[in-house]
Subunit: 104 residues, 2 copies
């Protein structure tokens, strides 16, 4: 496993008036930047990676991201939630239950 | 786990003459399309997802992709390799050793 935690943050932007909602490029990139900043501050950039990704197909629950290898999807993620996900999940290995998306 | 296998295919395109190589948007999207086609043909679109993603930071080994939750990175993936990855790994759960990228 190259990364102990690999975070994929949706930055998909649909056109105005599209049938489905989208996570949004501006919001998604702000999340990516915040994840990268906090991971770097902790000196964990070698083992933990956060990056932008295309549509995760959980559009109704966005802004969304997924943490692998755990396969945990988070929904409605705001900038203020990033530190908690980094500290609790990426570092502490404890899932942030209040943000978990379960499609089933 | 929403997907039993989740394939992230790099479509990052750097400008001509950039210091680092990049996997490339055209090649990456061709891989995405082929993965989606074969997964759909097998009726596995609900449980297996293939999608485009940003830079995986394994630029020297591209075109690259990663299969999660396994955390297996594949390097130098060509269109002709997709069927083997789908059949062997995504369906058969056997890693395609000849394409595995191990950065260490």
């Amino acid at each position: 496993m190259i990364y102990s935690k690999h975070v994929f943050i949706c930055t998909n932007q649909r056109p105005e008036g599209a049938a489905k909602p989208s996570c949004g490029e501006t919001h998604g990139m702000a999340l990516v930047t915040e994840f990268k900043k906090l991971i770097k501050e902790k000196g964990l950039s070698i083992e933990i990676r956060a990056q932008k990704t295309g549509c995760l197909d959980v559009c109704d629950f966005g802004p969304a991201l997924v943490v692998y290898p755990d396969g945990v999807f988070y929904q409605n993620v705001q900038l203020a939630d990033v530190a908690e996900i980094v500290n609790e999940h990426l570092v502490g290995n404890k899932v942030v239950q209040r943000l978990v998306l379960d499609k089933k």
